[in-house]
Subunit: 178 residues, 2 copies
């Protein structure tokens, strides 16, 4: 049925952000449910021995460059519900706040996905391991040789998750059949 063919207008660009102070993963993909193309990938680093404010400012600079360069339709950020280490939660929250802030300043909508939503979207299993997520990201993007650390493949998985789920949620919101 024609209604099931992907429409060119439905192609979206998503920038996934795996927030972190020491390593912040960035992954940009284009596509629609079932097809994702790699646009760009990066890991922003800030030195652990620098002042926290300077680290956040450096992170802001990097995120602004990526937002302006990639011009995504939407930014997808990992939603952290609970972690054992309060220090890690704080760093993740602080880095995530900067991503949110720069996206809001540019009028780019931000969506959130939990780690299990992301894992389920790319592997079919909400408790998949890091290696399996990285393997499936490379397969889905048809980039088997992609050299990228886990923070980067996690950000790409977030972006792919939004391509898949975002469209499904939009259909549900519009009252369409699934």
């Amino acid at each position: 049925m024609a209604a099931n063919l992907p429409n060119m207008r439905s192609i979206r660009r998503v920038m996934g952000v795996d927030p972190g102070l020491t390593r912040c993963g960035i992954g940009v993909v284009d596509g629609y449910p079932g097809l994702a193309r790699l646009v760009g990938v990066d890991v922003l680093h800030t030195p652990a021995d620098a002042e926290l404010g300077d680290r956040l400012a450096a992170l802001e600079d990097g995120l602004v460059q990526w937002l302006d360069r990639a011009a995504p339709d939407v930014v997808a950020v990992e939603r952290v519900f609970s972690q054992h280490n309060v220090r890690t939660v704080m760093g993740t929250a602080q880095a995530g706040a900067v991503a949110l802030l720069v996206a809001a300043r540019r009028g780019v909508p931000v969506v959130w996905h939990t780690p299990s939503e992301v894992k389920a979207a790319v592997t079919g299993q909400g408790r998949a391991g890091k290696d399996q997520v990285a393997f499936m990201v490379r397969r889905l993007l048809r980039a088997p040789g992609l050299a990228a650390p886990a923070d980067a493949t996690d950000a790409l998985a977030l972006a792919i998750c939004q391509l898949w789920r975002g469209a499904a949620m939009a259909r549900l919101a519009a009252g369409g059949a699934r």
Copy 2:
């Protein structure tokens, strides 16, 4: 002894920030150990039903206005070590990140104090209650009629704590007697 007289050059202006998304307390004081003068106090509100990114952007606007207007020598922020509610920790961390970011962008140093350090500085007791902190803030600032909510008096207490402790830490760092 002359060495114990406060030196005009030691007068510092501190802006205390009690970070929060729904209510962010701001308190600015001038002084030196033993004397604190109220400069300004405010609570920044952001609507709980707004997008998180827009809330952070509104908070940034308010903090920038206060930083530019008050021109503090240093910003003191509450250091959160642990809270039971992860959602509250995240909001505090996100709001604190914005305060850090805007201070770093303007080259204003940021210092951290734990709630118990703040309580001990203004009441002599690290486990003092909110009412006791608010009472002592009004007494120390000689502003018994100050109408300000707890978020604002907490921010003032943070600023006073930095006036007291900051000088002591600077003396210790310089190798002087306590």
